[in-house]
Amino acid sequence: MSFLELRKVSKRYGEGDAEVFAVRDVDLSVEAGELVAVMGPSGSGKSSLLSIAGTLEDPTSGEVFVGGALVSTMSRNEKARLRRRTIGFVFQDFNLLAGLTAAENVSLPLELDGAPAKKARVAAMTALESLDVAERASHYPDQLSGGERQRVAIARAIVGERRLLLADEPSGALDSLNGDAVMRLILSACKRGVSAVVVTHDARLGSWADRVVFIRDGQVVDQTVAPPSPESLLAGPPARR
């Protein structure tokens, strides 16, 4: 079984004439170590899909499996534990807590899960080091650049033993080079076995993914096939005269 699996998932709001589907009959599987991008226009259901995959919202129908476990049979506490231990979230606007340092922001989810402060601090520093931002550990979010804040947010999402990373427009308002850097970091987490889903409307970000799934009006309408080796590009067009 894939690490994340959505089977015939729908999310419906309202009743009768006011009934609206944010997500409709979506099947989505993400293997361990796979990076999947979900692309679609605003209002297409991308973020709803991510909330359901992250167990933040329950689907109206369908099943969600995370690490082989069926989410719908879990209690609220079990879902909260799953989120604390297994799932990391990265948001467009970083969502770092302003009153905590970078290291404290990263260690917070572990401490909330009952880890001793010292152990959580060590894990946070390891995550910050892996993202090359450890020297900024004692700085507060407003003392960090946009790129550094996003690195800290990614460190928080992968700290500890998290196996599923869910990112909503993770490059935010960063420039294109920093946006590339964010995707490079997510990809390197995937190479260590983390499964990741990135929702975006930006094809440049989506192109970092192993597979791109296109969503429209809450439904998956298409997906890319595995790209051939980039060497095929280097054959290049015939020389122009």
Binding site: A203, R204, A209, V212, D222, Q223, T224, P228, G236, P237
Partner: protein, 191 residues
């Protein structure tokens, strides 16, 4: 692409053989634009005819001929580097023509057509991004070429997104009769 000026640029840091110019040209463009040796020599002959390069001529037309840039070649190179690239007329874009044509064909779901092209563009972008991921950090020229290609493909993908939004809006709203134009504007498309 001006091979003439690219060769002048390569000669600006010292005299070179034809074969060497080809290797350096391909390396500078991240091996994305191959160049055949015949094209190099033909271009060098024209540059020599125009007085922008000179060769010692001791080896006749052979590969042992060394070429160097002349002062007027330097002048031409500097003029070209700063001359704006002509972007005044939009190129004829087959993708745009296909979507415009799809609007006229009965029974065709234009959104499906848009999506087929969007997927193709994103798949191409995935390939270019792999290249960047693998190598571009170590090769500035390649990184610049790959970025240029990604931005070009991205601009088309964005245009498709915008076209898709306009199609949605047009199908949701009744057509509004536009007022008669005071004059008919023409956008001239380069052939």
């Amino acid at each position: 692409m001006s091979v003439r000026h690219a060769l002048l640029a390569l000669l600006s840091d010292g005299p070179k053989y034809g074969l060497q110019l080809r290797q350096e040209f391909e390396a500078t463009t991240g091996d994305v634009w191959p160049l055949n040796i015949g094209q190099v020599y033909t271009t060098l002959q024209r540059l020599e005819r125009d007085g922008f390069v000179e060769s010692d001529g001791s080896a006749g037309e052979g590969p042992q001929n060394v070429f160097r840039i002349t002062p007027s070649g330097d002048e031409e190179l500097n003029r070209w580097l700063r001359a704006p690239t002509d972007m005044t007329t939009p190129p004829r874009n087959e993708l745009v023509i296909k979507i415009l044509s799809a609007l006229r064909v009965p029974g065709v779901d234009v959104q499906d057509v848009v999506q087929a092209h969007r997927r193709y563009l994103v798949e191409l972008m995935q390939q270019w991004t792999r290249l960047k991921e693998d190598e571009a950090d170590y090769d500035l020229s390649l990184a610049l070429v790959v970025d240029a290609e990604l931005f070009r493909l991205d601009s088309l993908a964005r245009w498709l997104d915008s076209a898709s939004g306009r199609l949605d809006r047009a199908s949701a709203e009744p057509p509004v009769k536009s007022p008669a134009p005071l004059f008919r504007r023409r956008v001239v498309v380069r052939r």
